[in-house]
């Protein structure tokens, strides 16, 4: 028994130390990964697919780019993810990409040049992909715009230098004439400050190369064939190309006035906004599409998780230049335009903030609007019934497709009475059975 206990203790100590040793080890592996620039319904998501993931997910009939790359991959236990050290090793793999379906090669692709073009600037979300000659053209356009900006900036700096000199001359002249005893208006022209040039309003990424996949919905396999005809080891992947289950229509992001940081979504046309009493709701409408949760999450990041049984709405684009209508039946109660709002923090232990319209005074003080939205005020005096919100194009009267949602004001004060309704079958039962008994007795 003692021997057995001793064995257990020694084994325990050895295992503990080995765990510590393993915990300290960070395994770095050189691996072939696919760098992905995947269209996500609105713009392009950048991610990579390590060897641990068997499948790449892409949206059907849209360009997405995959680039086989040899890099250093390591596991980061804190986030339970594989990370890529592209800054250490980023070796492009040359070859041809074979696309297979049901075991047969249906296409062989060569790498193409592409750029991502952001029409509203680098920080905007929307991007368009251009290939080959168009890619060159858009990149050239951007470069020329940047060169033109730099030229204007140079001219601006020169103008500023001249402006400062003329400003000094102006002050010198004023001082000289005042010292000479001159009084009243001096009538010396004030030099005008030059305006800085505006930076280029759009952006185009540097041209890059990759395999452009634009496939109809279905299941495929891909592999990389080297120039010598052999298959590159580890390049085989499954590809699931999917499409949205439902598309079109408008979804809403709702900011409740009493908790502006905790937004709610009312995306599905069947969803109802249940409310009780007074409230202020700030609506932001979006165009949307409904995708399988697993497929979409894996599209954005192949290491992400999701549930194949569930679907999720994805906000594709904000709906702009519309008017929001709040009404009951055919009666319109509020016509709301998009306005900027500012969240003003209130010092003290009471309510932490107040949402106020963003006005010129705030602008003069240098504040920026916190958010822009369509504000609907629910008065406590509103009859407790169903109301509708919808968006109409500016000047139009027809609501945007599937933009109508119901706001249901609940009669919370009657909540306890619903237990009484549960007694209806008992009442009917008693009446039926007593009626039957009296009939038999007769």
């Amino acid at each position: 028994m003692k021997r057995f206990l001793g064995f257990l203790i020694i084994t325990g100590i050895v295992l503990s130390f080995s765990t510590l040793l393993f915990a300290q080890e960070t395994p770095f592996k050189e691996q072939l990964v696919y760098s992905l620039t995947s269209f996500n319904g609105s713009t392009f998501s950048k991610s990579f697919c390590p060897q641990s993931e068997e499948t790449i997910y892409l949206i059907a009939n849209e360009n997405s780019v995959i680039s086989p790359t040899k890099t250093i991959v390591y596991y980061w236990p804190i986030t339970r993810r594989y990370m890529a050290g592209f800054s250490t090793l980023n070796e492009k793999i040359s070859g041809k990409l074979e696309i297979l379906q049901n075991g047969k090669v249906i296409a062989t692709q060569e790498e193409q040049k592409y750029v991502l073009y952001y029409p509203k600037g680098y920080w905007s979300e929307k991007a368009v992909m251009y290939l080959n000659e168009e890619a060159d053209a858009y990149h050239k356009k951007y470069k020329e715009a940047v060169d033109a900006f730099n030229q204007k900036l140079k001219e601006y700096y020169q103008a500023m230098e001249q402006y400062r000199e003329s400003l000094n001359r102006f002050f010198e002249e004023v001082r000289r004439r005042r010292e000479a005893g001159e009084e009243g208006p001096l009538n010396i022209p004030i030099p005008k400050e030059p305006k800085p040039p505006e930076f280029v309003g759009f952006y185009a990424s540097d041209p890059a190369f990759g395999f452009v996949l634009n496939l109809p919905p279905g299941k495929y396999e891909i592999r990389l064939r080297r120039d010598d005809g052999t298959i590159f080891e580890g390049s085989e992947k499954k590809v699931v190309v999917f499409t949205s289950r439902r598309k079109g229509g408008v979804g809403y992001e709702i900011i409740p006035g009493n908790r502006w940081t905790k937004k709610e979504n009312c995306d599905d046309p069947s969803w109802v906004i249940h409310a009780v009493g007074k409230n202020e709701l700030y609506f932001n409408p979006y165009r949307q599409e409904e995708y399988n949760e697993l497929y979409y999450n894996k599209l954005v990041d192949p290491q992400e998780i999701g549930r194949i049984e569930r679907f999720k709405w994805v906000h594709v684009d904000p709906v702009e230049q519309v008017t929001l209508l709040f009404g009951r039946g055919k009666e319109i109660l509020q016509t709301v335009e998009r306005s900027p709002y500012f969240v003003k923090q209130i010092p003290g232990p009471e309510l932490g903030y107040e949402i106020i319209p963003y006005d010129e005074e705030l602008q003069k003080k240098g504040y920026q609007p916190t958010f822009e939205s369509y504000k609907v005020s629910l008065s406590p005096n509103l009859p407790k019934t169903d109301y509708q919100v919808s968006v109409v194009t500016a000047g139009g009267s027809r609501p945007e497709e599937k933009s109508e949602r119901t706001i249901r004001i609940l009669k919370k004060e009657n909540a306890s009475y619903i237990y009484i309704a549960a007694f209806i079958p008992l009442l009917v039962g008693v009446v039926t059975i007593l009626g039957r008994i009296s009939k038999i007795e007769k």
């Binding site: 009493n258 069947s270 969803w271 409230n279 919370k412 549960a422």
Partner: protein, 272 residues
């Protein structure tokens, strides 16, 4: 005696027997009480000056009501079949013009009719609840109630099949509760685990989720409750094609299990 007349007589006998028993109303009362509890919690959750976005808040109570009612009807039918078998009534009946087909069809139609009646009560209950609280007696709810008829049909036909395989009352009830309870438990656990993010699950829970997923997919076309979930999903999606397809699946399911029950009873015989 014509076959339809036999069917009518058996149906009337069983239908009135259940209608004049207190258990039927008791089951309805229990299901409405549970629904009231859920709806009260929903209303409490929509706090003052707050909002709650939800599809059809009445759908979940409806789902529970349908399950309670259909389980009650199935168990009552199982008891009735086993009792008649044990007491020899079935044997006596079968010496006459009664066949296993007319006997089981009458049971099925009786349960379905009582189920439809129960749905009438449910509609009335939800109407009153909506009038009191403005929770919304909508077209979607009416479609869900109609889908409920098809679910009751599925549960009843499946229950008849189990009853036709078992002999004694005790065995019949235990088997029914075990099988239908297992179906419900798998569906419940599966949906519960699906709602939890993968990162928050321990490895053992992850394996359990995977295992439940396999079992769920295996029973997906056998469990009558899976048909209800799919049917209610089609109501939420407002997709008429899907809705009618699910209704058709339910009809096919019911026919298959009623015919299987008739076949099983024919094979097993009428003696306990």
């Amino acid at each position: 005696m014509g076959r339809s007349r036999v069917l009518r007589t058996l149906f009337k006998r069983d239908f009135l027997y259940t209608l004049y028993s207190f258990g039927y109303y008791g089951a309805l009362f229990a299901s409405f009480l549970v629904s009231s509890f859920i709806l009260k919690n929903f209303l409490d959750a929509t706090r003052e000056e707050d909002i709650l976005v939800s599809a059809f808040p009445l759908n979940y109570p409806l789902y529970l009501t349908l399950i309670i009612i259909s389980l009650y009807l199935v168990i009552v039918s199982a008891i009735s079949i086993s009792r008649e078998r044990e007491q020899g009534t079935l044997e006596v009946l079968f010496y006459g013009p009664v066949t296993s087909s007319s006997f089981l069809w009458s049971k099925y139609l009786k349960d379905l009719s009582l189920g439809i009646l129960a749905l009438g009560f449910t509609a009335l209950y939800f109407y009153i609840v909506s009038a009191l609280t403005n929770l919304g007696f909508t077209g979607g709810l009416v479609r869900a109630l109609i889908m409920g008829v098809f679910l009751i049909s599925c549960v009843v036909s499946f229950g008849l099949f189990i009853s036709s395989l078992t002999g004694r009352i005790r065995n019949s009830i235990i088997t029914l509760i075990a099988v239908l309870g297992a179906f419900l438990a798998i569906q419940f656990v599966y949906n519960m685990l699906l709602g939890i993010e993968k990162e928050s699950l321990s490895p053992s829970m992850l394996y359990l989720r995977q295992a439940t997923a396999y079992v769920f997919h295996a029973i997906n076309w056998v469990s009558p409750f899976a048909y209800l979930s799919r049917g209610l999903d089609s109501v939420v999606l407002e997709n008429w094609t899907l809705y009618l397809t699910h209704a058709l699946y339910c009809v096919i399911y019911s026919l298959v299990f009623v015919f299987l029950s008739i076949y099983a009873m024919g094979k097993k015989g009428v003696k306990a």
